[in-house]
Assembly symmetry: C2
Homo-oligomer: 277 residues x 2
């Protein structure tokens, strides 16, 4: 079986390494519209060969690991190609509902919408890591509309690369992802922007220790990728931001009113998340 | 020289280890109002001996590493004791202005107000780490009111345990600390509380990956300690929260108005902090 990966960055590259180490593909081929990235991926031995888009008909499994808008375009392109009849098409988009809705009908059975809950703030093939996916959750959505063969194959790959599989409705996934990932990115960008607005920002950051760094880390993420994610999960993201804003406002008011015992209780409540995290 | 440490938790304990490894104290003694912590600190060999408060007159250097309210009380108690004439008293409080203001006049020359910009979300003597202070910033405030001998001794210790020293005005320190540490803690608690308010919170956290965990980490911190910090830095904290809120609101409005190109620019700006961080 030949695996083709479209998008040889952090996620696509890491998936390639995991598959090389744990799955029996006869060949792993790759495509990247950034020719430098493609060459780097080849040099780093992430893939065995760089191919053209019109050579994807050779592949048994196609993984699309690019920003959401591009995933939607590529699905449309793939639907017009003469692919293998049983080809399994996987995407790694961070939101699922819009992508699934826009997947052309004639390849919907081939398509297994997936979202690996893994990542770092870095991007590009050099950022690929051998263990990025290990012991992480792979969410797989709306499998009732995918072919049995394709679902089984995708799940088999995910298991072999040591991922924990969660089957989920796309709508529910997008709501959860807004809370667990998308809103926290907005929060992190808000934090860095608020410090940058201060006149003495250079002086302020000389005091930054581990706590601040971990809060600011997500704001290192690629704005182009995240713009797409935010756009395709707008309402859930707004709901999550509003839920967060409500808590922040509560804390602010307790501080303003010097209600420090109530603030203590509020912090104790917040502590409890770690019991289920 | 004998070093006495009041409060044998994460900070006091880690300072003890650093001094054992890098500074020539003849003995390190400790006090903790929690007798379990005191015994653990002894067992872990953080200190050579547990002493009573009224034995502090033996010490050449006294480090106070307890919550802010307790620091203020202890300074008052120390001012009434018959300590060594040249004793150097150091506190590790996370805010400095209130503590300095409340330091009794008769020990002000002995006092070197300090704030190690280091820590983890854990507490207690078991949380103490050998390298917690290494290469971290030690802020030392308002040294013009401290004795020369005491400042030199304190700075010598900090240098020997490999810290980077920043001399700073207490008012400026507290403003910076609000941005770099105190407000981010409120943000982290707001994040965990907003998730906990969701009906399907257990389901939501199954998707949590590294990004969320790093944002939620600060909300593991000890509410009792942080309540004190927030209370003693009220106005700066409120200012920092408001600066953050403004950025969050800007992002929310850009999303609501589908101004994704402007959101992209805003994210790119936020990215830039990492150039100076």
């Amino acid at each position: 079986m030949i695996l083709g990966i479209i998008g040889l960055g952090l996620m696509g590259g890491s998936f390639a390494i995991s598959c090389k180490q744990n799955y029996n593909f006869t060949k792993i081929v790759g495509i990247d519209h950034n020719t430098k990235h493609a060459q780097t991926a080849l040099k780093l031995n992430l893939v065995d060969e760089i191919i053209e888009f019109n050579e994807l008909h050779k592949c048994d499994v196609i993984v699309i690991s690019v920003p959401i808008c591009a995933i939607i375009c590529i699905l449309k392109d793939l639907s017009k190609m003469n692919l293998k009849k049983n080809v399994t098409i996987i995407d790694f988009g961070s939101t699922k509902e819009e992508i699934i809705k826009k997947c052309p009908e004639n390849i919907r059975k081939n398509f297994v919408p997936s979202h690996p809950m893994a990542g770092t703030e870095y991007s590009g093939p050099e950022a690929a890591l051998p263990n990025l996916f290990e012991n992480k959750v792979m969410v797989v959505c709306n499998i009732e509309d995918s072919g049995k063969y394709q679902v089984n194959l995708a799940l088999d790959i995910y298991k072999k690369i040591k991922m924990n599989i969660k089957i989920m409705d796309a709508h529910e996934h997008d709501r959860h992802a807004a809370f667990i990932s998308h809103m926290p990115h907005i929060v992190s960008y808000s934090l860095t922007n608020s410090v940058l607005k201060q006149e003495d920002k250079n002086h302020i950051v000389t005091l930054a220790a581990g706590g601040f760094r971990s809060m600011a880390r997500l704001a290192k993420s690629n704005p182009a990728m995240w713009k797409d994610i935010f756009e395709s999960n707008e309402q859930n993201l707004l709901d999550a931001i509003e839920a967060f804003e409500k808590e922040l406002k509560k804390a602010k008011n307790l501080i303003k009113e010097k209600e420090y015992d109530k603030l203590y209780e509020w912090m104790e409540k917040g502590n409890k998340l770690h019991e289920i995290l």
